[in-house]
Amino acid sequence: MDNVYTFSEKIYIYLRLATASIKSRMEYRVTFIIFMVTLSLFYLAQVLTIGVVINRFKTIGGWSMGEMAFLYSLLILSQGLVASIFSGLIDFSTQVRDGNYDRTLVRPLSPLVQVIMNGFEISGIAHIILGIASFLVANSFLDIKWGFENSLVFLLVVLGGSLILAGIRIIIAAIAFWAVNNSSLVHLFVYSSREFLLYPLNIYSGSVKLLLTFLIPLGFINFYPAHYFLNKSTNDLFHPIFIYATFPIGVFIYTISLFIWKIGQNAYESAGG
């Protein structure tokens, strides 16, 4: 059944699904604009909160204002990409509970890509705008030379970070195949755990550093790669090579997540009658 459509036809259909999702999101234009503005304000409040602490104490864990802004920009840019593309996975458990997921299974297209494209979220742009703004602020404080090599590494880091976040979203969504309701896990692993990354990992205890490096490798989204761009000492890291590991780790986590999704899908029994 997978071969009903050619590859280009599939891409066309997926893009149509994403376009339909964007259109439905923007149907109430004023509501959408208010949402974008308030979302930006929320993130701005978060940045200002860190700014107030930095303004008073000058550094947090040895990281200055510019370095903290750079750390934040790496996080929010990766998050922006993921919030745009993978938002459909956030309330995936509702589709499982309502039995709506069954509809994606009878179409000759990938169920996962359908879930993702049906939930394409244009408001991720707010993250990206904020990410670019904090990147510019960071650069005004720092002296990073942006040649071809650095720019390429930066793109790979943002892409790798996005793959890590996307992989986590897929794994948490896949849990809904067994648990049916995963909303609190989504809150904990997708939203709250990200709060760790607003600050440099070196302020946390050893066990949390281990957790965020090896078990839920969120540290690779911004903390480790920031060492590369900021020429910070790697002596306190578990291994200096970690500053280059974001993209491979991202690919690894994403691959694992697809595998878990596949297992979950095979175990899936429709909730409907």
């Binding site: 929320f42 107030v52 602490v53 709060e195």
Partner: protein, 267 residues
């Protein structure tokens, strides 16, 4: 009167039982609160060690205590905005206004039920856990406790009023999630839930103290810790009463205007 109290008690009990029903929700909620406490205690310990001269009236321990207690106060308040929002969106409120009880009272009772659950099932276990995990025990005298209780109750009333205000916006807008985000932004920055507002530069401090937000978490936590408030306790209480009057009046005005303008589609 007894009938009203009985009805409200049933609403409280129903909300409490509803909160108990979701076990996974409960444990992840605890983990979530602990995560925030952990992050902020780590931040404060770090900056207190790095820049002891910038602490001002604070010490490393008082900042750690602040992070723990402000989170516990926040956790103890049960959020239930969707209680009213869902009724407005679905049109179920049409049945409720026909019933012989007040919807605002029903909202308050539901919030109380969730909050009682939050205090016993989340705030107290988290406090015990924090004492063992972080090893910092705030010394709270009877006088401090007596000063704290009214302030805590007043801040809860402001919290309730804000929730009711946001819920009532559902009468006027198809989607109120944006307003919740906006409220979240103001709480993050100005309420003292994340950072004590005394960390702000002096010029902003006065302005912030006239908004209702620091009355949610900053002042109750500061009283518990014994940090100077820059005002007499009596003045603080008067300010609380002023903020309660303003926020609850706006909330009630929005609610009553919403009820008046409400129209139902369908037959």
């Amino acid at each position: 009167m007894i009938y009203i109290l009985e009805t409200q008690f049933k609403f409280i009990s129903k909300a409490f039982q509803r909160s108990i029903a979701y076990k996974l929700e409960y444990y992840t909620g605890l983990a979530n609160a602990f995560l925030y406490i952990f992050i902020f205690t780590s931040v404060w310990r770090t900056v207190a060690n790095e820049s002891p001269n910038s602490l001002g009236v604070w010490t490393g321990d008082s900042l750690v205590n602040y992070a723990i207690l402000s989170t516990l106060i926040k956790v103890s308040y049960g959020r239930n905005e969707y209680f009213l929002i869902n009724k407005i969106k679905s049109g179920d409120i049409a049945y409720d206004i026909l019933k012989p009880y007040s919807i605002p009272l029903m909202y308050i009772s539901d919030s109380l039920g969730v909050s009682v659950f939050q205090i016993f099932a989340r705030a107290i276990p988290l406090l015990i856990f924090s004492i063992f995990f972080f090893g910092v025990v705030p010394e709270i005298s009877i006088i401090t406790l007596l000063q704290f209780i009214p302030v805590y109750l007043f801040s809860f009333i402001i919290f309730l009023s804000f929730g009711f205000l946001i819920s009532s916006l559902a009468f006027f807008f198809t989607e109120v999630f944006s307003f919740m985000i906006f409220y979240g932004a103001l709480v993050t920055l100005l309420s003292g839930a994340v950072i004590p507002i005394s960390m702000f530069p002096e010029t902003y401090l006065k302005m912030i103290s006239w908004t209702p937000f620091p009355y949610l978490y900053y002042y109750p936590t500061s009283i518990l810790i014994g940090v100077p408030l820059n005002m007499q306790y009596e003045e603080l209480i008067l300010r609380y009463l002023l903020q309660i009057t303003i926020v609850s009046s706006i909330a009630y005005y929005l609610y009553s205007s919403g009820i008046r303008k409400m129209e139902f589609a369908g037959g």
